[in-house]
Amino acid sequence: MIPMNMVTPPPDLAAISALQSKLVSSLRPILPDHALLWEPEDTIPYECDGLAAYRRMPLAVALPETEEQVAQILKICFKMQIPVVPRGSGTGLSGGAMPISQGLVLSLAKLKKIVSIDPFTRTAVVQPGVRNLAISEAVAHHGLYYAPDPSSQIACSIGGNVNENSGGVHCLKYGLTLHNVLRVRGVLMNGEIVEFGSLAPDSPGLDLLAIMMGSEGMLAVVTEVTVKLIAKPKLARVIMASFDDIEKGGNAVAAIIAAGIIPAGLEMMDKATTRAVEEFVHAGYDLEATAILLCESDGTPEEVAEEIARMTKVLEESGASGIRISKDEAERLKFWSGRKNAFPAAGRLAADYYCMDGTIPRRHIATLLKRIQGMELKYGLGCLNVFHAGDGNMHPLILFNGADQDEWHRAEDFGTEILEACVELGGTITGEHGVGIEKINSMCVQFGEGERESFWGVKSAFDPEKLLNPDKAIPTLNRCAEYGRMRISGGKLPHPDLERF
């Protein structure tokens, strides 16, 4: 199941074992016994993150409990030139926290204190291991919440959110992690403690906070985050609209935006998904619909009533074949339950599923869905399509059986073809899951050599020795050359007009 082996030479076991002993004996004086793991039975839970198809065992796993320990660990690894892979809750879907065989996994899971909450300035200071949802729960009694809500919000940590610039179903209106974080405190690979951004609306110099967002643990290790809290809307209601045609559904999304409405959430599911989730949650979805749109409005009761009426009108004019509006909170949650359970529902249909994360301009939604239908035939695999339609971010779930090597390879090729279609339609290979190890080859398609060289320049500005999560997100020149040769030998060259390789 590990396709990466083709580029990694077989490791020298004796050398790895010697390095492991050296690392463990250097870290032992600064960490309590329970905070340092190196026996395989202890480190095996860390061999992968949420993308289980990519696994590797690290030399050791450190679980520091203070920022000071984080800094000391980094200083030691810096001195020993041992690569470090930071890890949050391990829910990432792109293998961004996959270990390096001759490296250390640095888990921030034990830094999980909410340091302070200030309702007057609408801010909270939290450690990186605090779960996304725990922030909103802790401030709910002030009538506030933390807006970004990735699907994994029960488990994923704010440190991971910063490193992936996570979104969620409400980011069309409320923004990504980038828009909701004021300050990040972290440690550079050499052990120096730094702060990006501040509680003021801007900071001197270049906007380094912006470049930290979504940097996939490659620039600094996050030790504290100051998040922005916003007023909890008094009410939320959702419209569930059915369409008998994918194109009409796609056009309805565009029509809502064109009417000057920014819904709190705007999600789309195709027929296959609707059927799969209905069997799982019994939310009363329209099983005949080719596409279902969920459009949420939030705010004051007056505001919601006004917006729901406007959206209903647009949806009717766009040819919706059925419209239902949630009567109360219970029904709203029921309407959402299917969308939120698309992943487990996919898990019931097949042994494994492979979740993609491309983003395309909204107007191409129908085009891409039709292409995916063609790919299902080409690769002989099913695919469920769920979309953050409001921002064009789509999550096709390719169904396969991981026990069958051939099915996994077809699933991978299917995924790669979807991502290349996203780039071709003017979009991107990843909207919110990150590049990690999974999409690193697709980076060769989306970016030219100059851009990739600039990314390495950014990396080197923070981490000149390239020790912090160095094998993720940004492909090397050699890797892209290798990938280019593979693609050519596999058939035709994608985008032959571009000098990519």
């Binding site: 007057f120 403690i193 470049i211 620039l219 971010n393 991107t428 999409k439 923070f462």
Partner: protein, 383 residues
């Protein structure tokens, strides 16, 4: 290092950059020159960014506009206005010739910033020429994009010190269905208290401005509400009753907010030749500040997070203001200087003057050399 475009303006840019790199010359990027006084002074050879102009793509239902950096800002805003959309952070023009690229490079935002975020929050993608003359594109035209480092968001506020911006895609928003402005007389401390309390409630608060004399006495607080008609109508009586505010005529209100954005209000007029207009960026928690030597009235925007103060332009005054801002968790800028003030003065708070930022000076220097190894762009403009 291939150059994919045959556009003569882009070819000329590239030649100018490569020649400068070869001859160790420094270039200063300029658009309409409406903000040339902002940032540290520089007398370097200019690149005129206006030669590459025009809107490249605008599809209102995508909420994105892509345009060349040299496009007049008013042309962008006119195109958006036609489709009932806006640059929601309201970047100031400071003159009829302001360009799209200049507004991004300055990174300044107007009254709307407190409700919707700063210009950086809206930038989705850029095309640039780096200091090696390489034609590079980062980000894209979609809201969600985490492929590669977010280089495009390094450009807003970089004052042309990192690369030459060629094109940018920015997110736009629908023009609010309804706006209303309330006004009352209230002390600075009371204004800050109410604004922060309101900001923590589900109210359609979109901008605020308090103008008054320093610490004591009442000043004039203006509050802008924007959003769905029902939300605005419901908020007016609620907020008015708390501060005894009355609604301002919509025409007068619109002029007021625009004049605030463009610094055309009387309070900004007549900067004395020995005076400096200081800008303070401060956390929401910062109460009224006793500014040393402050003259006349001060202006608070963004619920007190941006403050404008006229005071003597000498170094001692700036140092005192800077110290006050830093002690409160913010920073200060010599935004605009009077005609008698030494133009070579450092205008900004330095990274080294901020807590836990010293190590970032080296990071920043390395970042600049990654994009501009020969030092072609006038880096001194923003330390």
């Amino acid at each position: 290092m291939s150059f994919s475009s045959s556009n003569p303006a882009l070819k000329a840019f590239q030649e100018q950059i490569l020649n400068a790199a070869n001859s160790k010359q420094i270039l200063s990027i300029q658009g309409g020159g409406t903000k040339s006084w902002y940032g540290n002074t520089n007398q370097h050879t200019k690149i005129d960014a206006r030669t590459y102009s025009g809107i490249l793509e605008y599809q209102p239902e995508e909420l994105v506009i892509t345009a060349c950096a040299g496009t007049p800002l008013k042309e962008i805003e006119a195109a958006l206005y036609e489709k009932n959309q806006v640059l929601a952070c309201e970047p100031p023009h400071f003159g009829a010739d302001a360009t799209f690229g200049g507004a991004i490079a300055a990174g300044l935002s107007g009254p709307g910033r407190i409700g919707v975020g700063n210009f950086r929050d809206f930038v989705l993608g850029v095309r640039i020429l780096d200091g090696k003359g390489q034609d590079l594109s980062f980000g894209g035209k979609v809201m969600k994009n985490v492929a590669g480092y977010d280089v495009s968001r390094l450009l807003p506020g970089s004052l042309g010190t990192l690369s030459l911006l060629l094109e940018a895609s920015v997110k736009v928003l629908p023009r609010p269905a309804t706006t209303a402005t309330l006004r009352c007389q209230i002390s600075q401390a009371q204004a800050l208290k109410f604004l922060n309390e309101w900001a923590g409630q589900p109210l359609p608060l979109s901008a605020s401005c308090w103008i008054g004399k320093g610490m004591g006495g009442d000043g004039e607080l203006s509050i802008r509400l924007a959003g769905a008609a029902a939300a605005v109508q419901a908020a007016i009586p609620l907020m008015s009753s708390l501060v005894l505010a009355s609604e301002v005529d919509p025409q007068i209100a619109q002029t007021f907010w625009n004049d605030l954005r463009e610094q055309k209000l009387p309070v900004f007029d007549h900067l004395g030749s020995d005076q400096t207009l200081y800008r303070l960026a401060l956390p929401a928690a910062c109460g009224p500040l006793n500014i040393p030597n402050a003259d006349s009235e001060i202006v608070l925007e963004w619920h007190g997070q941006q403050r404008w103060i006229k005071a003597p332009g000498d170094t001692a005054t700036f140092d005192a203001i800077k110290k006050l801002a830093t002690a409160n968790g913010g920073h200060a800028t010599r935004f605009k200087q009077g005609s008698n003030i030494d133009p070579s003065f450092q205008r900004f708070t330095l990274l080294s003057e901020q807590a836990h930022s010293k190590a970032l000076e080296l990071v920043q220097a390395r970042l600049r050399s990654a994009f501009d190894p020969a030092g072609v762009f006038a880096t001194s403009r923003l330390p």
